[in-house]
Symmetry: C2
Subunit: 658 residues, 2 copies
């Protein structure tokens, strides 16, 4: 590999997102999600599960101060509360909040962040250590259970927050603190004989360290990331040795928490199938792609490619959801994609977006952006309510409130979004993604600008030594037209590459009203020419309603179909289509009517079509099969991401069809 | 209710089963199952899970002897091993073995039983107590956890064995021992103020006590059964109080072991839906029906009727399997009947047979015998291999070895029958049912003989003061003809009632070659006339292959069908129909060819028909739905009970159809 050939994403700081679908989501994050989550972190949401995350830092700070100065320690609320990884909730909130400062000045928010940073840094130990669980519960136990206790995970998230905050404000207090913590880690773990051979039970520090390396250019940060990647799953297995040494107990090994749960069953380059906890897996693969890119490591990139293909061609829901099994929140096996019991954690879809972005930065191939778009518009957005204050942890493709209540196989599924969770990883993860969505639209490789997502936005970029302005206007995903305006003081040659989405069968491309003869490669149309000021690209991505089916190997979907329009997967809900959605049959050869409904679900293109409903013509549990009887019905579909925002009821993506 | 009106089953001792389908199963039980299980109980099956059940009794006997005589206790193997209810495995084996003595003299087996009885009785405490778990682990803890620790359950099973052994041989040593134990229980638990208000966590003692009452005519035995039934689920709840008193811990309450798991969530007469652990539920309902009959208790019988209807019209698989959820081995909720994750424990189907038999003894209605037959031919028989030495605990309606290995939702399902189980309730339960099958064929009510099952057999019965011999000849279920021969020295009037099975659409009935004008009521044809020697009834139950479907409310079966021929549910297997059975589609309007295949699966009527197989025409995980492509195929069905007796592979009962 040659890094000169790599593409590089334009950051959220460089791209100004214009009014429209995603700007609304960014504002939702800024004005609703982030303030709401701040309240949650401070335990001020009535009826929500307590977080205690900020309080943990305060208590840890008191303990640190007492240890250093002998000052009397406060006695109130002095217990650690929450999960062992509770620190990461604050870290992710911090990153999300810092993200918004990249594109929206907010002195009040910045002051709040500064206060939080002070609270966090006050808890830091003299040697750099900073994890409230162990500071409060006893430092003698730190680093004795990397497998389960998330110290490196919490550091990874805090490091990401610190880097983002520096980028947004130049303020480096948190970053410096985190670098001290990284130095401590670096002194304890690594390939050198005197160091322990540990690596995290929950990945994320790998990608954080590469981000740090990109900021500091300090090779040791890349080396540490690279070490964590390559040590993972090697024999003798660290987690086994650690469990023996510290008596962590083999109980997990006997349940579903086998080594594969941690992706530690074999060295990462030998892993050919995505297995185990889906969020951990996604974060690992992100780290692998990051290290592969920075280290120009072809074999590591090839490992990423194999895992990518396994996920996206065998283990991904049509919504971009991944990790189908609630047992271990994990990948299960090829084509095992049940609908009602789907786990499809919001965080896992977010991880898939991260992974796609990283693959795209190594090789421009629309397949990565296709999956990124699929996950963003469907399985990620379904994780939050339209008002930004309720959350799904699981994103099933079929839901029945009765099953949620009574079917033990659905016991972790909710029929309605929740206020907060004991394990609250998803809400702040959505916040940090939505607040940085500008960074996922474009990548640049030499003098080629890639447009990966169609989001109204503008940016200025130096191309071939000339500053060029770009302005993209679109009402995507509701409308099929995308216009790109070029602003340049002097005519200049460069290439503008537009992604032709997988879902799009026909498109037209005009430059200044005329068709341009462009080469298409790996899903992008490359428009290379000398561009002048006010040049206009008009791309029309034909966006009919398309009936989709799954591969025959997906057992549960045989005989079923769903519809998509553009990147949006649609579903039907009880509110529009009545109870017993499994008795509804759609015709696959019908005409569909997409209708813009401004007042419905925040404004959507709903889709209407003809269907049939099986009649209940027997009370018998089993009876001889006669001619089946149906009523004709009009079906109404809504975008999947908007489900469960009205009355509580059934939902189905895949529908019986004939 | 008037007990004069009750029917009474002819016992296995009264009926001689003739060569044929069920005689083969009785012989399988006698010559294979029971000897095999004896080896298993004595830990002599290589590669099987250890039982230790007999050894527990020996150790307990040593301890009892030492306590009484001060004789030195043996030191070897002195630990209790196995489940807390391990005694019941020996009890059920004993009952099965005793059953065979009702119809087949076997001095060697009788000698073995006598030895076992000696071993068991040697462990009995001076006050009558007899449970090896507590004798070995400490008697001070006995009766401190009726909820979980199965003392009354083990007694119930041992009592059933004792009663059967008396009936078969007249030997009453075990019975007398068990009556002493019952007396102890009676002195401790009951409605009287000075007694504890306990009842068993796992029911079975209720039905055993009614059997004892029928033998002893001692009202106190019925009263105790009646007390256990009526105390159950009353407030204040005994299990809660007991847990508090003895610190048994509320942990189960927090998981799926809620009070409903034990059917102790409300008084039994108020229970309208079958819930909780399916085997416990079935045994409770049996006890309720028994007590209702003996006590002429209409409201209790009405409670049984409501539960019967709930189970058989909303919670039963087409195979007669019940208890669809592996979580808690339990009933789930109405119409929740998943195929691949079906639990449908063998013991639960056996319990349903018991329940059906009891309902039939209260009111002659073919719906009870229909369900009894359905369970016997399908979900019970599928529990054992054709050679009688391998066992299924679960009886799913769809199986995929890959899912059994990898899908956590199928984690308790096996793709092949097992040698033995840590919880080995099912194998001896099958043995005791098969060995007593003769007792399920006929019931008698005044001068009416009811034929409930069509099994070649003969018996003599005094009817209206005249001894009449009956001989039933049939090759059922393979053949549709049933002949009943009457043998009487003098012409005598009585009624012979023949069940017209639910699955039978048309039948003919001839007496001595002429059609008889008979009244049909509640599914029985009543042939009342004056019968002479050599009179012959010929019943022809038309037995075409019938395509069956499930009620629309059974979500997973919408768009699917299966076939039945007579009482047999059929399935398809990978061995005959290739992999990916979910890609096979059956036509519902086709001609089927039933073919007798003597050399296949012990001799079966296989069924052939035309079907289609979806072609794999894409490698994409999701794609636009085009015209679906199919190959024409010939499908082969086999009776469900014979599945998994050849190569390991997929199986499906419900098949996509159109």
């Amino acid at each position: 590999m040659n890094t000169d050939e790599f593409t590089k994403a334009l950051s959220a700081a460089e791209v100004k997102v214009a009014e429209g679908f995603w700007k609304d989501k960014m504002e939702l994050a800024r004005t609703k999600l982030i303030p709401y989550e701040w309240e949650a972190l401070n335990d001020r949401i009535e009826g929500a599960v307590s977080s205690h995350s900020i309080m943990n830092f305060k208590i840890a700070g008191d303990i640190t101060a007492q240890n250093e100065t002998g000052a009397p320690r406060k006695k109130e609320d002095e217990e650690f509360q929450g999960m062992v990884f509770q620190d990461s909730d604050t870290a992710k909130w911090l990153e999300a909040a810092a993200n918004t400062l990249l594109w929206q000045e907010d002195k009040e928010l910045e002051a709040t962040i500064d206060e939080v940073v002070d609270v966090i840094c006050a808890a830091q130990q003299p040697d750099g250590y900073l994890n409230t669980y162990y500071i409060i519960n006893g430092l003698e136990k730190r680093f004795t259970n990397l497998r389960d206790n998330h110290e490196l995970y919490c550091l990874g998230h805090m490091l990401e927050a610190a880097i983002t905050y520096v980028r947004a404000t130049g303020k480096d207090k948190l970053l410096n603190a985190m670098i001290r913590y990284v130095d401590l880690i670096d002194s304890l773990f690594g390939p050198e004989p005197e160091k322990r051979k540990g690596y995290p039970g929950h990945e994320v520090i790998e990608m954080a360290l590469v981000r740090l390396y990109r900021l500091t250019k300090d090779e040791k940060h890349l080396k540490l990331a690279s070490y964590f990647i390559d040590q993972r799953g090697r024999e003798p297995n660290f987690f086994k040795e650690e469990a023996e040494q510290f008596g962590n107990g083999p109980i997990w090994e006997e349940t579903y928490f086998k080594l594969g749960y941690f992706q530690a069953h074999k060295p990462v380059r030998e892993q050919k199938e995505a297995i185990g906890h889906a969020v951990r897996a996604m974060y690992l693969y992100c780290g692998m792609a990051d290290v592969a890119k920075e280290s120009k490591d072809d074999s590591l990139f090839e490992a990423c490619r194999i895992l990518w293909d396994n996920i996206t061609t065998r283990q991904m829901y049509i919504t971009g959801g991944v990790g189908s099994s609630s047992t271990g929140e994990s990948f299960s096996y090829d084509y095992d994609l049940p609908n009602q019991t789907a786990y499809a954690e919001t965080c896992a879809a977010i991880g898939l977006v991260f992974f796609a972005q990283r693959m795209l930065e190594i090789e421009p191939d629309s397949k990565y952006a296709d999956v990124m778009e699929r996950a963003l518009f469907n399985s990620v957005l379904s994780g939050i309510s339209l008002d930004g204050t309720r959350f799904f942890y699981l994103n099933p493709l079929e839901s029945d409130p009765v099953a949620c209540e009574k079917d033990e196989k659905c016991q972790r599924a909710d029929a309605t979004r929740q206020k907060w969770f004991g394990v609250a990883c998803c809400p702040p993860n959505v916040a940090r993604l939505l607040s940085s969505i500008g960074g996922y639209i474009y990548t640049v490789k030499q003098d080629t600008i890639y447009q990966n997502l169609y989001i109204g936005s503008s940016f200025t970029k130096e191309v071939n030594n000339t500053k060029v302005g770009f302005e993209v206007r679109t009402n995507y995903p509701w409308d099929q037209k995308v216009t790109v305006m070029v602003h340049t003081e002097i005519p200049i040659e460069f290439c503008y590459a537009l992604r032709i989405p997988e879902w799009c069968r026909t498109f037209t491309l005009m430059v200044n009203g005329k068709e341009l003869d462009c080469k298409t490669k790996n899903g992008y149309v490359y428009c290379r020419r000398t561009w002048s000021d006010q040049d206009r690209i008009e791309l029309t991505l034909s966006m009919p309603v398309v009936v989709m089916r799954a591969n025959n190997k997906v057992k549960e979907n045989v005989g079923k179909c769903t519809i998509m329009r553009g990147p949006l997967v649609y579903c039907i809900e009880e509110e529009d289509n009545g109870k017993d959605l499994h008795c509804v049959t759609m015709k696959t050869d019908m005409e569909f009517s997409p209708v813009w409904e401004a007042d419905v679900l925040g404004g959507i293109v709903a889709v209407y079509g003809q269907g049939k409903r099986r009649l209940d013509n027997t009370k018998a549990l089993y009876c001889p099969a006669g001619e089946e009887e149906y009523d004709d019905i009009t079906m109404k579909w809504i975008p999947y991401y908007t489900w469960a925002n009205r009355s509580v009821g059934e939902m189905a993506v895949w529908i019986h069809s004939r």
